[in-house]
Amino acid sequence: MDADARFAEFVAERGDALLRYGYMLAGNPHDAADLVQEALLKLRGAWPRLRRKENPESYARTTMARLHIATWRLRRRELLAWELPELEHHDRLPGGDERRMWQALAGLPRKQRAVLVLRYYEQLDDAEIAAVLGISRGTVRSQAARALDKLRAAVPAEPMTRGNAR
């Protein structure tokens, strides 16, 4: 199978998962789509250089996280259009804490959001997060702590309902 065919197979198998991950990072479908596209293009460029033991998916995920916290948006040149859900579709998230949380996430600096996505969505530990983002473990911890503080302030716990619910 040639590189294009193997790449196509990879995109078909893992594309949606990457797009979900992009959506967590970016918080909206448009930027998520851009992120995935840019990361897949980089992956396609690197495909011949990827050694057998290197996992294209982790390459793509690392690229997406780094692109997201860099100023990737300004650098994009070609974008593919595709049908996307409504812009404000996080409004369809259930009400209450989760919706407030999603909105509060949108207010975080990109690096902080990326750290949270890697920790709580990708379930990586701090050493892995540090490797993905190319930052120190100390920075991972401080960024996560700062982000959680902000979220705590934005989504205050409600002891009554919380107590009942959990």
């Binding site: 294009d4 790449f7 196509a8 197979e9 990879f10 995109v11 078909a12 594309g15 949606d16 797009l19 979900r20 992009g22 959506y23 967590m24 479908p29 448009h30 998520a32 789509a33 851009d34 596209q37 897949l40 293009l41 396609r44 460029g45 100023t71 948006r73 300004l74 650098r75 994009r76 040149r77 070609e78 974008l79 593919l80 259009a81 595709w82 049908e83 996307l84 409504e86 404000e88 579709h89 996080h90 998230l93 259930p94 804490d97 989760e98 949380m101 999603w102 996430l105 949108a106 600096p109 990109r110 949270l116 709580y120 969505y121 959680l148 979220l151 705590r152 989504v155 716990a157 919380r162």
Partner: protein, 397 residues
């Protein structure tokens, strides 16, 4: 596990259900884009310059061969009634798609009403090779300057702007110092005006440059407006320009177009000559993405594109999505794609009169090209076949 961490996990889990889906045939499309891009490989620094050269425009290549970008847009505008040349005959000009030496070239600015500033681009890495003055009336051209070959990728020419008989640009360096250059539009030797550290941030450097009277003015990607005399000298901060970005001299504003998401781009602007300040009004539920001196683009609470004055007046919901999120061209026009379920073409729409013209660009499946813009918001340019078309928005008034 704390409560906030619990909620966070639950939120991410729930959001998964709302994530968009990849379209079929994406891989094939990406391979096409990949091949096109491979022809003009460049490093991250040079890639950053892509955007900087056009002052924060997202959708522009410097390769000159394709000016391809598409908003992931789900709402299309109405198909324009007629080709743009019929609607605004005085505004449409043409040039060959290739310049001297058979190199692709692009339009960067107007030197005057009939003369375009053209930049040829090398075939290998898409480096800016030389500047030309191209006469749009009689089709003649004259070389202004050939850029010296840079020592490394960071030394490419960026941010080309023109005014007062001068062309200005900047180059970077490995140690992150921006050098500011000028050459008379009549031609001559490039002259170094001054330097400025661009160590802050990610090395993107300068986000916009312009000629203002007898000075070159520019702003840093990380914020801060500076100027230097066109005769050379000390680079000085512009009074009141700390943390600000050049919009359209004498207007500067904040936040700038790059970096972390931070709300409406150019929400607050200041006229550095008169001290007048304008702040964009945002109604509850709205997202205003970017404002020019007068107009803003964004989405209303229902997610429809809207355009209106920054003072909140004259708000208008648009049927289609605005495709180029630049400060509105001439504070009056916007570019949008039209089509039925897929982008079929690109139109230029006049907010004030409702008139629209078809640019003649055709979509290819879910892909379509958008025209390039330049920092003054006066020009749109795009290639079709072996012709380069330019629309002078100032002639649409």
């Amino acid at each position: 596990m704390t409560e906030v961490e619990d909620t966070l996990r639950a939120t991410f889990g729930r959001a998964e259900d709302h994530a968009p889906r990849l379209p079929a045939l994406l891989a094939e499309r990406l391979v096409v884009v990949h091949r096109r891009r491979r022809r003009r490989v460049r490093t991250a620094m040079a890639a950053a310059a892509v955007a900087l050269a056009v002052g924060g425009t997202f959708a522009v290549t410097r390769g000159g061969d394709t000016i391809t970008a598409v908003p992931a847009s789900e709402r299309y505008s109405a198909k324009p009634d007629a080709p743009v040349r019929q609607v605004w005959p005085r505004a449409v000009k043409e040039a060959p798609a290739k310049g001297p030496g058979g190199l692709d070239w692009r339009l960067d600015a107007l030197i005057d009403d009939r003369t375009a500033l053209m930049v040829t681009v090398t075939a290998d890495v898409g480096r800016d090779a030389a500047l030309y003055a191209y006469d749009l009336e009689d089709g003649t051209q004259r070389e202004i300057v050939t850029f010296p070959e840079p020592e490394d990728e960071s030394g490419h020419a960026n941010g080309i702007a023109v005014g007062g008989g001068h062309v200005v640009w900047w180059t970077g360096s490995k140690d992150r110092v921006a050098s500011l250059w000028t050459v008379p539009v009549d031609g001559g030797k490039p002259r170094l005006l001054g330097t400025r550290s661009i160590k802050e941030g990610d090395g993107s450097g300068i986000d916009r440059m312009a000629v203002a009277g007898d000075r070159l003015v520019f702003s840093l990607y990380t914020g801060g407006v500076f100027s230097v005399p066109l005769t050379g000298g000390t680079v000085e901060p512009v009074e009141g320009g700390a943390g600000m970005h050049l919009l359209s001299w004498p207007w500067i504003g904040t936040p700038g177009p790059g970096g972390e998401p931070h709300g409406t781009v150019y929400a607050r602007i200041v006229n550095v000559e008169t001290g007048e300040t304008r702040t964009a009004v945002t109604e509850p539920g709205e997202q205003i993405q970017i404002c020019g001196v007068t107009l803003c683009f964004g989405q209303n609470a229902e997610g429809r594109s809207l355009v209106r004055h920054r003072d909140g007046s004259a708000s208008k919901a648009l049927p289609g999505d605005v495709a180029l999120m630049d400060p509105p061209t001439q504070d009056r026009f916007f570019v949008s794609t039209y089509g039925d379920g897929r982008p079929e073409g690109v139109g230029l729409y006049d907010v004030e009169t409702g008139a629209s013209g078809d640019l003649g660009i055709r979509g290819d499946g879910q892909l379509i090209s958008l025209p390039s813009t330049e920092p003054t918001g006066r020009l749109l340019s795009y290639k079709r076949g072996d012709r380069l078309y330019l629309i002078d928005l100032a002639k649409l008034r």
